[in-house]
């Protein structure tokens, strides 16, 4: 497939035109900024329809093989789509656990049967996926997962509980990490990986109310739940390996994701606009030199991140600490976001005290809401404090 600049430019034009015609109108309720924020049925219905529309237009899973529902095109096409989705501030493509984690894993490590069974439903949003890694008592310590899976004839019997199950109540399948052998020589070797149905008997979910007041996560309970034995992916004992591979898709931009567009970014551009619209001492806040100084610093840090991303692809410029850019991206991005959002709330004058259901709230209280939601990013997937340890130990070589 052609990837010369002119062809790509024409393709970008085409996508942009399609988006202008097809991005849905404001539905009148709060749209999730990230896939983790889907908390109501109306949000879900809206996002399912939107994902399907994008898929049917040919703009999703573009680099996935045609025989399973993809388009078999070079990845650069999907990158262009993702960039244009961002440029147009399109609604998110929400089925992220499927598109970004389960899908790439199945395509890379799965059997032919698994590919046939699962891939297309991920793309069409017919099958919503959720993730079952974390457990209530072992937040930062995945290897210690205690949910048990015991083989019983053609089934596994599952007992235990998983937490932070995004899309739990809507999920058709779960990528599930469970312990098949408590006596294994290492705790890691006792883990297995399942592509588990969510509708099996004995599986229930209980929604978790978030700090924002909304829903979007669940706790999943397994109470003698029985799932078919063929749900085991790979062999027993390979769970840790498969889970780690999955997390690599999460951490890297360069995985096999069907799309990497899973959030509507709020960036320093929006912060600038916010400062233009707020009055303080009778003038737009953007004219305040102290505010300007802080905004410039945020823009600079944001640009650092973007440039680090580019530099990470030039190994000759990464010889000092070869792992540092790869390991520090999540920490920097999520912490910068947190600081920017907290700052944006502080700028709003009395309106900073308003919240999402107030019509007078600035931009629908996007900053307040975004600040709170952002904790899922500085806590989930390894807290910022744990991330910093990892960077210290693996990039700098400091002792544990």
């Amino acid at each position: 497939m052609n990837t010369d600049p002119d062809t790509l430019a024409a393709f970008r034009q085409e996508v942009s035109a399609w988006l202008e015609d097809n991005i849905p109108e404001d539905p009148g309720f709060l749209l999730p900024l990230t896939f983790m924020e889907v908390g109501t049925d109306e949000q879900l219905a809206f996002l399912v329809a939107w994902q399907r529309k994008v898929y049917e237009a040919g703009y999703l899973g573009m680099s996935w093989p045609q025989e399973y529902g993809g388009r078999g095109m070079p990845k650069v096409y999907q990158d262009i789509v993702d960039e244009e989705l961002a440029n147009h501030k399109a609604p998110i493509i929400f089925n992220t656990i499927g598109l970004g984690w389960a899908g790439p894993l199945i395509l890379e490590m799965g059997t032919e049967a698994e590919k046939q069974k699962y891939i297309k439903g991920i793309l069409t949003a017919e099958d919503i996926w959720c993730q079952g890694f974390s457990e209530p008592d072992h937040g930062s310590d995945l290897g210690n997962a205690q949910t048990r899976a015991v083989r019983d004839g053609d089934e596994y019997v599952i007992n235990g509980s998983k937490i932070w199950t995004t899309h739990g109540p809507y999920g058709k399948y779960m990528i599930l990490l469970a312990r098949t052998n408590p006596e294994a020589k290492s705790k890691y070797a006792g883990l297995s990986f399942f592509l588990s149905p969510m509708q099996a008997p004995g599986i229930t979910t209980s929604p978790i109310q978030k700090i924002t007041g909304e829903y979007g996560f669940a706790q999943t309970f397994f109470d003698d739940a029985r799932i078919p034995a063929e749900c085991l992916m790979g062999e027993e004992g390979e769970g840790w390996k498969l889970a780690m591979r999955t997390l690599e898709y999460e951490r890297s931009v360069e995985g096999g994701q069907a799309t990497s567009y899973c959030l509507t970014s709020i960036s320093s551009d929006d912060l600038i606009e916010t400062c233009r619209s707020i009055q303080r001492d009778g003038k737009p806040l953007l004219e305040d030199p102290v505010v300007q100084d802080q905004l410039v610093q945020f823009i600079l840090e944001e640009k650092n991140l973007q440039l680090n991303n580019t530099r990470g692809k030039l190994p000759d410029l990464c010889t000092d600490y070869p792992l540092s850019l790869m390991l520090s991206g999540k920490l920097e991005a999520t912490e910068l976001c947190r600081r920017m959002r907290q700052y944006a709330v502080s700028l709003q004058g009395a309106k900073g005290g308003l919240y999402i259901h107030d019509n007078d709230a600035l931009d629908g209280a996007i900053w307040q809401h975004g600040y709170f939601n952002n904790f899922s990013a500085t806590i989930g997937g390894g807290t910022s404090q744990v991330q910093t340890n990892i960077i210290a130990e693996h990039a700098l070589g400091l002792p544990k």
């Binding site: 974390s134 937040g139 930062s140 310590d141 937490i163 932070w164 978790i208 109310q209 978030k210 700090i211 924002t212 007041g213 996560f217 707020i278 009055q279 303080r280 001492d281 009778g282 102290v290 505010v291 947190r338 907290q342 709330v345 502080s346 700028l347 709003q348 004058g349 009395a350 309106k351 900073g352 005290g353 308003l354 919240y355 999402i356 259901h357 107030d358 007078d360 709230a361 600035l362 209280a365 307040q368 709170f372 904790f375 899922s376 500085t378 806590i379 989930g380 807290t383 910022s384 404090q385 910093t388 340890n389």
Partner: protein, 382 residues
């Protein structure tokens, strides 16, 4: 080697009388009894945000009259006696219209004629709820109002962030009358149907509303006597800043306790997480910010006592520093409380959410930190 001493030649007065101590002890136990965290959560969804019987008890303790002259039935103490009460309320996230009523009374004491005072202050001592309606929009830095009182005494315009409007009997409105700023009184029964629209606040323990006064006709004696409205307004904003700061100091302290308890309880990697310096050292930062803010608050309270209500340069500095310090302490405490609770911290069920929400609300009452630093600059640097 090692010690550094700061010059102590300037006066940094701080005193705490036996009377203040008794008030503080009484307020702490009252708030503990009437505002447990379960009680706070129960009130989150209620319309008025507090319970009448708690307010009644508070009235009986004499606190609604604590800073009102004896002539009107009060105890004739000053803001220095209000501070320990508000701090205790903050500590327990106790929600009552106490701050609104205190500010309204302070305004009447400064701006109303003796007749106007005699009409309203005794009722307020007895627990009638009054509140201020100052803002036209989000800009507490603006020095004018678009609200109008016509020559024939009809009001036009809405006010934002009218705290405790849902139960207030008396509204004190900042308006423009014949070309200059004035305060005017409106009673609840003068409002038209639907004039009060509750704000959806980020802090679910607090209550505030947008109130439309358009069309209300007032009598001549509802216009407050004072014509030095800007000066009085400036005083009231400083008192408001100080009381919010005192409240925030109390809140920061209980937020820090929540964090410390969790760090001592929760184990990861086989150790209580409080043994990790990455959590331990920021907790100390919160403590240090809290202690500084608390000192500023009680210093300002002392200057109030010394000045007998007059607000001079030193007191203005103290109020602004107290508010800036308290904002920063509570903002950090709320933010870290969520983060340090890990996954639990991200849930509504975890009490950290109450604190991070209060922090966002509190910083915006009577000015955020940047605002106060900006106002402090000419006072300190010229």
């Amino acid at each position: 080697m090692g010690f550094v001493r700061y010059e102590e030649n300037k006066s940094y007065s701080m005193r705490f009388s036996e009377e203040q101590k008794m008030i503080l002890e009484s307020a702490r136990s009252f708030c503990q009894d009437t505002s447990s965290i379960e009680q706070v959560r129960k009130l989150l969804e209620s319309a008025q945000g507090y319970e009448d019987n708690v307010w009644q008890q508070l009235v009986e303790l004499g606190w609604t009259g604590i800073a009102i002259a004896e002539a009107f039935g009060g105890s004739e103490l000053g803001i220095e006696a209000v501070v320990p009460i508000v701090e205790s309320m903050g500590r327990n996230l106790s929600a009552t219209p106490f701050i609104s009523c205190t500010l309204a009374a302070q305004l009447l004491l400064r701006a109303a004629s003796p007749e106007q005072q005699q009409r309203w202050l005794p009722k307020m001592v007895e627990g009638q709820i009054a509140t201020l309606a100052l803002l036209d929009n989000e800009d507490w830095g603006a020095d004018n109002t678009t609200h109008q009182l016509s020559d024939d005494l009809v009001l036009t315009g809405e006010k934002w962030f009218v705290d405790d409007a849902a139960t207030a009997e008396l509204f004190i409105i900042l308006t423009q009358y014949q070309g200059s700023a004035r305060f005017v009184l409106v009673e609840r029964n003068q409002l038209s149907e639907g004039a009060i629209k509750a704000h959806a606040l980020i802090d679910e323990t607090k209550r505030s509303a947008k109130v439309d006064f358009t069309g209300v006709t007032v009598s001549a004696d509802a216009v407050l006597a004072a014509d030095n409205v800007e000066a009085i307004l400036a005083d009231i904003k400083l008192i408001g800043a100080l009381l919010t700061a005192a409240e925030a100091v109390g809140t920061t302290s209980s937020c820090l306790n929540l964090v410390v308890d969790y760090l001592n309880t929760r184990k990861q990697f086989g150790k209580p997480i409080g043994s990790f310096q990455a959590l331990k050292h920021p907790s100390v930062d919160i403590l240090i910010k809290l202690e500084g803010a608390r000192s500023q608050v009680y210093h300002a309270a002392t200057l109030f006592e010394e000045g007998k209500g007059e607000i001079e340069r030193d007191l203005e500095i103290a109020c602004r520093m107290a508010k800036a310090s308290a904002n920063d302490a509570l903002l950090m405490a709320g933010d870290r409380a969520v983060q340090f609770h890990g996954g639990m911290g991200f849930t509504y069920e975890c009490d950290a959410q109450l604190y991070i929400r209060r922090a966002q609300w509190s910083q915006q009452q009577f000015g955020d930190s940047a605002h106060h630093r900006k106002r402090l600059a000419p006072l300190l640097l010229n």
